[in-house]
Symmetry: C2
Subunit: 413 residues, 2 copies
């Protein structure tokens, strides 16, 4: 699936070919196999910084948050600093009651003991099933003994569940006119719903640049809104979604702050890496063969722009039309009409690619072969101008295929 | 698909075997073929009352409302009375601009001239395609010449689009201790998305009982909330959804009003007919083989109960699990957690059938074969008690199958 249109690097941002989270100076890691899938695949990753790093995180809004989410959220609120991260695939440790709370805490404590703290826990996989905590703890011990700077690709594979491809990205960004550059690297997983119960999107992004904690959290909020919050595979937010951002040493005497021009450059680079990872998640969406980029402009507010874009991105009608290459643009307008926003059909304009298909309350008379051709590619772009204001929002979504239904209706325990 | 559990008649309500809208005294009709499908199938229905009837209607909340919706809504607000109804299938007359407005108005005028007014217009079918209005107008003329009391089954078939079965229901309800009964009859169509563009749910329900106009509109709102608003096939509201309720003659000197005990009996009967029609729409959902009834109890408010029930009913994860017979109750809880309601996972209780599967924040240890058996039947019942208050809501939804994707991704013009 092509996602080229959103992968353009900004000014002063250079991709690191084959780079990942461990391209960032001072970040190392390791993996281990704990048997959480009943096989010998690696299913646990440790990420270890040379010192406690200033950290910011964004978590799922799902009220049924998993034990690791509740633990990590509480800890990072109390102290925005992380030295070691433990991630397991194969079990989400969600809806697992007090035993799940104890398991998440044990993972945090063991990681802290083995790699230094503060630690941060992430889990993804089946929900409602007790985590085999002893297997995970011994996996942490084994991994901790082989932490190195070479583990980037192994970490990217160990955190996958139903994903078919590893998802990494790294860039270098110039921080001024001189030669000084800073690295931003990341790893993510996510592919729609994690068999058999849950969608989970996890991402860790890091940089060596010291940043003030409060500025870092605000930066991450803005970046997530324009990257991971702009994708939808199946319209569901999991119990475990977590994005963690690590900056330079937490005890740095003069961290970068909002307001500094170099801060904006760093933010651009973090946004670039996050958008790249988000696009890779969509492109690897369960059963997906095509991507639809929805741009809503001319909204009366940013909230309304996002509501309209999300309504279109969630629409199973739009997503099945995309799967079939059926240029039913009426479904896009109907989904927009269902967003709960007071749009005016007589003012809106809809473009597929660069062709206007609807304007002034009625269809534009263009040849059917043209609309078919506009809807056929792997990457389709729809632009809806509401002509009510100057706010905008973008969403990336996938087609809904029979393979998606197959993946999510199979029962295998 | 079985829907028996919601078809129980209330006290004093007797089903009319094989009954339909024309079982109601004074309601007649006819059909015609206008060629809107390019075939000779009947695609137009007239419903004609012996005199102007008090009328109430509920319309789609979609902001991209079709021309007939905008016309009928404006007219019934100005004057809550209807004598003749014209319904066409095969073309929704939606997103058709000023020509569509003129076409809807021409349909209303021709129906009024041929059958008496006030008239009411409904359309369903493809959107964004100009309505061949001359063909429709001549169909109205032909149908008007053969209006009779025998057309009930033909009307139920003429209004169908991708539906596979006609949907009718009629009951008699005792209005007091004596022998006096009143008839309530209805017809509906709807099957998820109408190929190729749109879901539309249309229903007409009638009774000969004279009812005060304001009381009738309030009755219909309550009934729709507990019937047509409790079903979801694909989570989308069409541009054309309309429910019309006709009561007795609009000029009756002493219509029934809210507060009268007989009014409550009538409301029960209208609710019974509406729920029966709604269940038939779900059972005929595109590609659907199974129905899930979701009951949310213990909510802090009715709005919150409905938000949770709707989030579950819309979840493609829940619907694909249902399709596969996969008892992934964790998906139900995750969807509940995504409803935007502050639920507390440590308090909620989830039942499949009569078995508790989740309580006190953790799974109940029951055999996998049992949960599989609970999720296997054509009619599955899930009950979620939030333990936060005493409000409740119910939703009926279908499974999401590969056939649904097939139906909605095929391109045929």
């Amino acid at each position: 699936v092509s996602t080229t249109s959103i992968r353009r690097a900004g000014a002063g941002i250079e991709p690191v070919q084959g780079g990942d989270l461990l391209s960032v100076p001072g970040i190392n890691g390791a993996v281990a196999a704990c048997g959480l899938y009943g096989t010998d695949r690696d299913d646990l990753a440790l990420i270890v910084a040379d010192a406690p790093r200033t950290a910011a995180a964004v978590f799922t809004t799902n009220r049924v948050a998993a034990a690791p989410v509740r633990l990590s959220r509480e800890r990072i609120r109390a102290r925005p600093s992380v030295r070691s991260v433990v991630i397991n695939a194969g079990n989400a440790n969600a809806l697992t009651g007090p035993a799940g709370e104890a398991a998440a805490l044990a993972m945090a404590d063991r990681t802290e003991a083995a790699c230094g703290g503060p630690s941060f826990v992430m889990s993804t996989g089946v929900i409602g099933v007790p985590l085999p905590v002893d297997d995970v703890l011994s996996g942490i011990d084994r991994a901790a003994k082989r932490v190195s700077g070479e583990a980037g690709p192994s970490i990217a594979r160990a955190v996958l569940t139903t994903d078919t491809t590893a998802k990494t990205c790294a860039v270098r960004v110039a921080m001024g006119e001189g030669p000084r550059t800073v690295t931003v690297g990341g790893v993510a997983k996510g592919s729609g719903m994690i068999h058999p119960n849950m969608a989970t999107m996890l991402a860790v992004v890091a940089t060596e640049q010291p940043v003030d904690a409060r500025s870092l959290q605000r930066l991450l909020r803005r970046v997530v809104d324009r990257s991971f919050h702009e994708i939808s595979v199946d319209g569901e937010t999991s119990t475990n979604d977590t994005v963690l951002l690590l900056a330079g040493p937490a005890d740095h005497p003069s961290p970068l702050r909002e307001g500094d021009e170099r801060f904006d450059r760093l933010e651009d680079a973090v946004l670039h890496v996050s958008r790249d990872l988000a696009a890779k998640i969509v492109a690897d969406g369960e059963g997906a063969r095509k991507t639809l980029q929805i741009e809503v402009t001319g909204a009366a507010s940013e909230v309304e722009a996002r509501m309209v874009a999300e309504s279109i991105a969630r629409s199973v009608l739009v997503k099945t039309a995309l799967a079939g290459g059926d240029p039913n643009w009426g479904r896009i307008l109907s989904a927009a009409g269902n967003a709960g926003v007071a749009i005016d059909p007589s003012r809106i304009e809809l473009k597929l690619g660069d062709e206007i298909v609807f304007r002034n309350g009625e269809p534009v008379d263009i040849r059917a072969e043209l609309t078919e051709r506009l809807f056929a590619p792997e990457f389709v772009r729809a632009r809806l101008d509401l002509r009510q204001g100057d706010h905008r929002a973008t969403m990336l979504t996938t087609d809904l295929t029979k393979e998606y239904v197959q993946i999510n209706s199979e029962y295998t325990t």
